[in-house]
C-alpha cells in the first residue's frame, strides 16, 4: 500500500477521536497489518509523522504493548496462552508438543517462514484453555490431536473453523437471558426478548432519577473493587462545562476471568443498552469501549451491533467508539486505561485527581466494567427493589462466575451474589481430583486452602471476612497434583511480564520475586531466599503507584504463608550448604 493510501486511512481513524494522538494504537495496528504483521522502523516513523507525535513516543508506545511485533513473524503466528488457568489444563504440554512438531523453540520462526511460536500471558480464555491464538484467531479447548489438525490445515493454507462450544449456566437468566438464542447478537433477537425497552423507559425519566435508581439498587462494580456504581456516578460535578466521558472497561485482563467476553460475544446489545442508559444518567454523549486487543473478533461483533443500534435509532444522541488495547494487563487499571486511550503507554496516573474529576482528555470520566453496565438495563426495567431481591445484603444482583482449572466443566456461570462457592463448583461439573486450593477473585487475590472454603459465600463482604477478595469473580481451581511453588513462580512471572515499570517497588520487586522463586523451584534456593520473598511481599504491599503491585504480592504472600511447608521443603534441600551461598541479607 502506498504511503498516501495509508495516510488517508489513518486520517479516517483519527476522526473517531476527540484528539489525534488517541489514534496511535489503531494506526500502529493498521500499518502492521500492511507489513506482514510486523512493525518496521519505517512504519513507526510514518505513524509518528502522520499523527504529529515524536518518534520516541511512538516507539515507546509500540514497545510497551505486546501485540506489536518489532521483529518479523511467520505467516502464522502461534501464540499459546500459558497463564495459570491454561497451565493447569496442559498448556505447557501443548507448547512442548509444538516445539517438537515444528522443530523450533518458543520465540523462533520455522525456516520457510510459515510458523512463529510464542507464549503469551492470559488471553481471557481461561475457561476454554488451552488456547492457541493463530494471528488474530483463537483456537480454544485445544488438545494434542486438535493441534495436529490445526497445523495440518494451516500447512495447506487454510484457517480451520473454531470450536465455540463454551460451557455456561445460569440461575438468574439476567445477563445470560439471550445466551441460548440463535442469532443472539442481532438487534432483532435482542428486541424480540424485550431489549431496548429499558432504554426507552430511562429516557422517559430524568437523568437524576436513573442515577438514583442505580444507586438504590446498590449495584457494586464487577471490575474488581466492588465500588458502588451509583455513588461513583454521583461524584461527577453538576456544574461543569467540560464534556463527560463514559468508558466501558472491557479489558478482561485478570487471569482466570473470561466473563465479559460472554456478554459481548453473545449479547452485545445488552451491553450497548447498558452503556446508553448509563451515559444518559451521567450526561455523557461520547462513550468508549476499551476492549483487550486480542478480542479482535469481539470488537467486530460490538461494532456491528453499534451500527445496528444506530440504524434503529436507539442511540441517536450517543457516539460509542470501540477501542482495542494492544496487549497489556495494567491497561485494565482505569487510569492506565485512560492513558492508553489517549494514545500513550499504559502508565497509571497518580491519584488524586480521580477520573470523575480529571479523566480522559482532562475531562470528567466514569469507568465501569462490562458486567456492571450490563446490569443496568435490568435495574431500570424492573426497579431497584427487584434487583435487591437477588443476592445478599449489600451484595445485590447476579454475578458472572468464571470457573477455570481443575473442574469438569470450566465455563461461566451466572448465579446470585453470595452463592456458596461449593454450589458454583458443582455447577461447573465438580472438582476434577482432590481440591487443594482455590482463588476466587482472579489471580490477584489471596489463595484459599480447601479447608477454608467449606462455607465460603461468594460476595464481596463474605470474601473479605474470609481473608480473600471476590475481585472479578474469576475462580481458579487447583487439585492436589499442583505444586504451589510452581504456581507462585508462574504468578510472579505474570506480574513481572505485565508490570508497567513505572514505579520501583513493582518493577524491580516483581523481577526479584521471579529471581528468588525461580531459584527455589529449580532446587537451588535457600532459607534466605524464602526470607527475601516474604520481605519483598511484606514491603511492596501498599507502596506502589497503582494497585498492580498489591495485585502481584497478595497471591504470592498467601501462597507462601498457607503452603509454607512446600516452600520450606524446597529450601531445605539446600540447608546443608554453607552461608556463602546466601543471596540475601535482610538485617537493617
Amino acid at each position: 500500500m502506498k504511503l498516501e493510501e495509508k495516510r488517508s486511512m489513518i486520517e479516517k481513524i483519527v476522526k473517531r477521536y476527540p484528539e489525534k494522538e488517541s489514534a496511535i494504537l489503531p494506526a500502529l495496528y493498521f500499518v502492521q497489518s500492511q507489513d506482514n504483521n510486523m512493525l518496521s522502523e519505517q512504519d513507526v516513523k510514518d505513524v509518528a509523522q502522520m499523527l504529529g507525535v515524536s518518534e520516541s513516543k511512538t516507539f515507546g508506545v509500540a514497545t510497551y504493548y505486546t501485540m506489536f511485533n518489532e521483529k518479523p513473524v511467520g505467516k502464522y503466528h502461534l501464540q499459546v496462552d500459558t497463564n495459570i488457568p491454561a497451565t493447569l489444563v496442559g498448556a505447557e504440554e501443548i507448547v512442548a508438543y509444538l516445539e517438537k512438531k515444528l522443530d523450533i523453540k518458543v520465540g523462533e520462526t520455522t525456516p520457510e517462514g510459515l510458523f512463529t511460536l510464542s507464549t503469551v500471558e492470559g488471553l481471557g480464555s481461561g475457561g476454554t484453555s488451552p488456547t492457541v491464538q493463530v494471528n488474530a484467531t483463537y483456537y480454544e479447548r485445544m488438545t494434542i490431536e486438535k493441534v495436529d489438525k490445526l497445523i495440518a490445515s494451516l500447512k495447506s493454507g487454510e484457517m480451520p473453523p473454531k470450536d465455540v462450544n463454551y460451557n455456561y449456566g445460569t440461575e438468574c437468566g439476567i445477563l445470560f437471558k439471550n445466551r441460548d438464542k440463535v442469532d443472539s447478537t442481532s438487534i432483532k433477537t435482542y428486541k424480540s426478548n424485550g431489549g431496548y425497552a429499558a432504554l426507552k423507559k430511562a429516557r422517559d425519566m430524568k437523568p437524576e432519577a436513573v442515577l438514583a435508581e442505580v444507586k438504590d439498587a446498590g449495584l457494586r462494580g464487577r471490575g474488581g473493587a466492588g465500588f458502588p456504581t451509583g455513588l461513583k456516578w454521583s461524584f461527577l460535578s453538576k456544574e461543569d462545562a467540560r464534556p463527560i466521558y463514559l468508558i466501558c472497561n472491557a479489558d478482561e485482563g485478570e487471569p482466570g476471568t473470561f466473563k465479559d467476553r460472554e456478554v459481548m460475544e453473545h449479547d452485545p446489545h445488552l451491553l450497548i443498552e447498558g452503556i446508553a442508559i448509563s451515559a444518559y444518567a451521567i450526561g455523557s454523549e461520547k462513550a468508549f469501549i476499551y476492549i483487550r486487543g486480542e478480542f479482535a473478533w469481539i470488537a467486530n461483533i460490538l461494532e456491528t451491533a453499534i451500527e445496528e443500534a444506530v440504524a434503529d435509532h436507539q442511540i441517536a444522541d450517543l457516539d460509542i467508539v470501540v477501542h482495542r488495547g494492544a496487549g497489556s494487563y495494567i491497561c485494565g487499571e482505569e487510569t492506565a486505561l485512560i492513558e492508553s486511550l489517549e494514545g500513550k503507554r499504559g502508565y497509571p496516573r497518580l491519584k488524586p485527581p480521580f477520573p470523575a474529576n480529571v479523566g480522559l482528555y482532562g475531562c470528567p470520566t466514569i469507568v465501569n466494567n462490562v458486567e456492571t453496565l450490563a446490569c443496568v438495563p435490568f435495574i431500570i426495567e424492573n426497579g431497584a427493589t427487584e434487583f435487591k431481591k437477588i443476592g445478599t445484603e449489600n451484595n445485590y444482583g447476579p454475578r458472572l462466575f468464571s470457573v477455570s482449572g481443575h473442574v469438569n466443566k470450566p465455563g461461566v456461570y451466572e448465579y446470585p451474589m453470595g452463592t456458596p462457592l461449593k454450589n458454583i463448583l458443582s455447577a461447573a461439573g465438580g472438582v476434577n481430583g482432590n481440591l487443594k486450593a482455590v482463588i476466587v477473585g482472579g489471580l490477584s487475590n489471596p489463595v484459599m486452602r480447601a479447608s477454608e472454603i467449606e462455607d465460603l459465600r461468594l460476595d464481596f463482604d463474605s470474601c473479605i471476612n474470609a481473608g480473600t477478595m471476590l475481585g472479578s469473580a474469576g475462580i481458579i481451581v487447583m487439585n492436589d497434583a499442583v505444586s504451589i511453588p510452581k504456581i507462585a513462580l508462574r504468578t510472579a512471572k505474570f506480574y513481572a511480564n505485565e508490570s508497567c515499570g513505572e514505579c520501583v517497588p513493582c518493577r524491580e520487586g516483581t523481577y526479584s520475586m521471579v529471581y528468588y522463586l525461580d531459584k527455589l523451584v529449580s532446587g537451588n534456593g535457600t532459607k534466605e531466599d524464602l526470607n527475601a520473598l516474604s520481605y519483598l511481599c511484606k514491603n511492596i504491599r501498599g507502596l506502589t503507584l497503582c494497585p498492580g503491585g498489591d495485585a502481584a504480592v497478595m497471591p504470592i504472600e498467601a501462597m507462601l504463608n498457607k503452603f509454607q511447608k512446600e516452600f520450606e521443603a524446597l529450601a531445605n534441600h539446600k540447608l546443608s550448604q554453607n552461608k556463602e551461598g546466601a543471596s540475601y541479607e535482610y538485617h537493617d
Binding site: 516507539f59 508497567c500 524491580e508 516483581t510 514491603n539 540475601y584 541479607e585
Partner: protein, 349 residues
C-alpha cells in the same frame, strides 16, 4: 497554614506539597523522581511518609499540605519502605560508586546514606554497564538509570526537543532516544537538559569525565557570554580550570536550562589560541597591543574614513553575543556619533 513534620511545627503555604514544605524548612525527606521543574511523578516511591489519621503510606511529593496535618517521616514502616526501594534500585542497577562522576552529588547515594545502606540487600544477577558513548557531549550508562523520568520530562516538557521517552516495559523499560538509536545518531541537539535533571550518574556531561570529583571543585555563578538572553550558569572550577558548566537552578531567565553552546562550548576558555589582548596588524602580521592603543587606532581610522569618504563609508555590525542594551548603544553610536544608518546584526542572517 500550620502543619507538623517530624515533630516540628511549621507554617506552610496552601497548595504546597509535604515534600516542598519539608525542603523549605530544611527537613530531609528522600526523593528521587521529584524535581522542582518536572513536578511530582510518583515513580520512585522513596518519598513516602505517614500522616496521623490517614491509613497507609503517602508520597510526600504529591501529598498536599492541610491544616493541622501531622507528618511522620521516620517510623519503622516508612524507613522499611524506603530501604526496600533503595535496595531494589541498588541490586538491579550497576551502582559501584567509586569512579562514578555523580559520586558525592548523587541523589540515590544520598538516600542510601540517610538509610545507612552499605551494600544492597539483594544479590541477584550481575548487571553489566550499558554505555552509550555515541554523543559528543552527553554520556549515558543505562545501568545506573533508575527510570525516574526526569530527563524525559525535561526533554519533552521544558526544552521540547522530544528526543527522549520510555521504551519497552517492566524491568526491561529504558530511556530511549527516538526509536531507540544511540543518542549520537538521534535528533538530540545536546542541550544537556537531561544531564542537568538526572539524579544519578546515568546521564552525565562527557567533557568532565575524569576531570575531578565534585568536592574538588568550587562553583562560580556567572552569566553565559554567548548571547543576550543572559542565562545564569555555574562554572565548576578545579585548579583554576573550568571542568564543567551547569545551569543555575531556581533563577531566571533560564532556571537551569541551557543550550549546547552555553553548557558545552567552554573549551575556548583554556585554549592556548584564545585571544587575551587586542591584536594590531602591521605589515601583514599581528602583534599584541594594549586596549588603549587599539581603541586609539580604531578611533583615529574611523575619523579619517569619515572625513575622507563621508559617514556612509562606514558600516556597523554588532553581535548576538552582547546584550540588547549593548546592541542599542552600538546603533546609537553609529547614528549619533558616526552619522550613518549602516547598521546590521549577525542574528539577521
Amino acid at each position: 497554614m500550620n502543619i507538623t513534620i517530624k515533630d516540628r511545627e511549621l507554617e506552610v503555604k496552601e497548595g504546597q506539597t509535604v515534600l516542598q514544605a519539608a525542603r523549605e524548612n530544611g527537613i530531609y525527606i528522600p526523593s528521587l523522581c521529584y524535581h522542582d521543574r518536572t513536578g511530582p511523578a510518583g515513580k520512585c516511591r522513596v518519598c513516602v511518609v505517614e500522616v496521623e489519621g490517614m491509613a497507609g503510606l503517602h508520597t510526600s511529593c504529591s501529598l498536599e499540605v492541610s491544616e493541622g496535618m501531622k507528618v511522620i517521616t521516620d517510623s519503622e514502616k516508612v524507613l522499611e519502605a524506603q530501604k526496600l526501594v533503595v535496595n531494589l534500585l541498588l541490586s538491579t542497577g550497576k551502582h559501584d560508586c567509586l569512579s562514578c562522576e555523580q559520586n558525592g552529588i548523587c541523589e540515590l547515594q544520598d538516600v542510601a546514606y540517610y538509610l545507612g545502606i552499605e551494600t544492597p540487600a539483594f544479590h541477584m544477577a550481575d548487571v553489566k554497564p550499558e554505555i552509550d558513548d555515541s554523543s559528543e557531549f552527553v554520556y549515558l550508562d543505562h545501568s545506573k538509570c533508575i527510570l525516574c523520568g526526569r530527563c524525559i520530562a525535561g526533554c519533552n516538557g521544558t526544552v521540547v526537543n522530544e528526543v527522549l521517552d520510555f521504551g519497552y516495559r517492566g524491568h526491561e523499560a529504558k530511556v530511549i532516544c527516538d526509536n531507540d538509536v544511540p543518542m549520537g545518531h538521534s535528533s538530540c541537539v545536546q542541550c544537556g537538559e537531561c544531564v542537568q535533571l538526572c539524579p544519578t550518574g546515568a546521564i552525565i556531561d562527557k567533557l568532565r569525565r575524569g576531570k575531578g570529583r565534585p568536592w574538588e571543585t568550587h562553583k562560580v555563578q556567572t552569566t553565559c557570554g554567548y548571547c543576550g538572553v543572559g542565562c545564569q550558569i555555574d562554572l565548576h572550577i578545579k585548579d583554576n580550570e573550568v571542568i564543567d558548566i551547569t545551569g543555575k537552578e531556581g533563577v531566571g531567565p533560564n532556571f537551569g536550562s541551557l543550550c549546547v553552546k552555553g553548557r558545552y562550548g567552554y573549551h575556548f576558555l583554556n585554549d592556548p589560541a584564545r585571544l587575551k589582548t587586542p591584536l594590531i596588524r602591521t605589515n601583514g602580521s599581528f602583534r599584541e597591543a594594549s586596549w588603549d592603543e587599539a581603541l586609539d587606532l580604531v578611533a583615529k581610522n574611523l575619523n579619517r574614513i569619515k572625513q575622507e569618504s563621508g559617514p556612509d563609508a562606514i558600516g556597523v555590525f554588532s553581535s548576538a553575543r552582547i546584550t540588547n542594551e549593548e546592541n542599542y548603544l552600538m546603533q546609537k553610536f553609529a547614528r549619533a556619533t558616526i552619522g550613518t544608518n549602516n547598521v546590521d546584526h549577525c542574528a539577521r542572517l
